[in-house]
């Protein structure tokens, strides 16, 4: 009886944390889309990634949750913040005019996707989804992820490093080309840029 009560209390606690994280996730996602200042949008994305990490922890994906916070919130969003700060006032983009036909169409299409998937999930749910598989404590741990990366998915791991290298070279090339264009324009100010 006590064990049953304890497990019920544990489940209620898990649900409370899950619902809190889910609400934070959706609210911060809306904030990313709706803020007119991209700096606030990037900060909202950071909150979004934090609540995602909580959701990952609840389904024993410890390593992915840690990587999410370190790599996504710690590196990618900070890169966004650097670029937004570098652009300064030019990065601001307030809402322009009334919603056009295309905006309405975009919202309708997105709602249609959401409703379609939710209906599909609910229909399978009423049919009785199978219970989640039993897992051991090793599931999602750094040891397990490391073993999978270096044994089963070595090719993906290596291709990943090539992609990152190409992206770094691409970023440097784009920056260098822009700097050369800027210099050329400074030397011949009479020539009008039409780009």
């Amino acid at each position: 009886m006590t064990v049953l009560l304890a497990s019920t209390a544990g489940n209620v606690l898990v649900w409370i944390i899950w619902v809190g994280a889910a609400l934070a996730l959706l609210a911060s996602a809306l904030a990313v889309v709706l803020f007119s200042n991209p700096f606030y949008s990037a900060l909202a994305l950071m909150a979004n990634l934090g609540s995602l990490a909580v959701l990952y922890l609840l389904i024993s994906a410890e390593f992915v949750a840690a990587a999410q916070v370190l790599v996504y919130a710690g590196a990618i969003v900070v890169l966004f913040l650097f670029v937004i700060a570098y652009l300064g006032g030019r990065a601001d983009a307030p809402w322009t005019g009334v919603p056009k036909f295309s905006s309405v169409a975009a919202v309708v299409a997105s709602v249609a996707i959401a409703v379609e998937v939710i209906v599909a999930v609910v229909v399978s749910w009423t049919g009785g989804l199978p219970n989640a598989a039993e897992i051991t404590a090793a599931f999602g741990s750094p040891r397990e992820i490391g073993r999978l990366f270096l044994a089963d998915h070595l090719l993906a791991f290596e291709v990943t490093s090539i992609i990152l290298f190409v992206a770094a070279v691409g970023g440097a090339v784009l920056g260098g080309a822009a700097r050369r264009a800027e210099k050329a324009e400074a030397q011949t100010p009479s020539e009008e840029e039409n780009g």
């Binding site: 996504y72 983009a93 970023g171 920056g175 080309a177």
Partner: protein
């Protein structure tokens, strides 16, 4: 039982739809990129949920690879935005007509 795969899938599609709206209606390329990250994260959430459902860690590997692709995409996208800004182009995806050097 805690939240099952169904709850995670519903949450994932809501996040995906929010990201889609952002990509389609915003004209600032920075916010388009941020909304793109939302869509990638929605896919990651579904992958992690299915990994737990099937008790198979391969989904975690897929999610980590998606994270790497997101990093690469952010670097190239932000590089393009900085290049546009240095050429004094307006930061508006509706007015981008050419990316030719």
């Amino acid at each position: 039982m805690g939240p099952g795969i169904g709850a995670y899938l519903v949450l994932s599609v809501l996040l995906f739809a929010t990201g889609t709206v952002g990509v389609l209606i915003r004209r600032n390329p920075l916010i388009v990129l941020l909304s793109l990250e939302l869509m990638l994260n929605a896919a990651n959430l579904a992958l992690i949920g299915f990994a737990r459902q099937h008790g198979n860690s391969d989904g975690h590997i897929f999610a980590l690879t998606v994270m790497v692709v997101a990093a690469a995409e952010a670097v190239v996208g932000l590089g393009l935005i900085v290049a546009m800004s240095r050429r004094k182009l307006k930061l508006d995806v509706d007015q981008m007509k050419q990316l030719r050097g």
